[in-house]
């Protein structure tokens, strides 16, 4: 195994990507309940808005934020010649996603504790 910032970023991107795909299909299923009327929809929605799922949501947020920022980093590298700054860019993405996740996570927790 060959670990490096590039390798870690790739692994995280992959894991978050696959996690997001799984979430996407769950999400489709939840929203799809709308076809079956208000009750079913609200029931499914409530099922995924319990405290446990709030924690899941934080993980989801982390995944989205990291994946998106890392995606931006990749796009930048593709379209501008930035391979020299690969390590700096990686750490920038890493720290930015940590901050955003933390901010969002605190908000989610606060809402949860306030009972929405």
């Amino acid at each position: 195994m060959y670990t490096s910032t590039g390798f870690i970023s790739w692994l995280l991107r992959r894991i978050s990507g696959v996690a997001l795909v799984l979430y996407l299909f769950t999400h489709l299923w939840v929203i799809g309940a709308a076809n079956s009327g208000t009750q079913v929809f609200n029931a499914r929605l409530d099922a995924v808005q319990t405290p446990i799922f709030k924690l899941f949501e934080i993980a989801l947020l982390a995944a989205v934020v990291y994946h998106a920022l890392d995606g931006i980093r990749l796009l930048l590298i593709h379209y501008f010649d930035l391979t020299e700054y690969r390590k700096t860019l990686f750490w920038a993405v890493f720290i930015a996603s940590a901050i955003l996740t933390l901010a969002g996570g605190i908000a989610i927790l606060a809402i949860m504790l306030n009972g929405g």
């Binding site: 992959r14 696959v18 795909v21 299909f25 929203i31 709308a34 929809f41 929605l45 808005q49 929405g116």
Partner: protein
């Protein structure tokens, strides 16, 4: 190379849609989402179109990504034709299902 390009284009589209989605769904109140909330929003045609486009790009991006992840394995690489078709079919089915849902919302 085509998958690669699709992945980038859809990523750029997603950057737009996801930001919009996140802001309007999660960063502006009300924070507890119910049927009514969703219904209210999705009843406007603009939102319908935005969300259908969002749905399409995210599905394309997700399946192109999954296809990449799977075909990176040498054993799967040999079946990449079949896998590509499977991904396309999943995208179409999921898109029909999701679009129907979005369309169904009426006040």
């Amino acid at each position: 190379m085509l998958t690669f390009k699709i992945q980038r284009w859809s990523a750029i589209a997603l950057l737009f849609f996801l930001t919009v989605h996140m802001i309007f769904m999660h960063y502006v109140p009300p924070f507890h989402i119910t049927f009514d909330v969703v219904q209210a929003r999705l009843s406007t045609p603009t939102w319908k179109i935005i969300d259908i486009l969002f749905l399409f790009s995210v599905l394309v991006h997700a399946m192109a990504g999954s296809y990449q992840v799977i075909t990176d394995f040498e054993s799967a690489f040999n079946y990449r034709k079949a896998l590509a078709w499977a991904s396309i079919i999943i995208v179409i089915l999921a898109f029909i299902y999701g679009a129907k849902t979005i369309w169904a919302f009426q006040l």
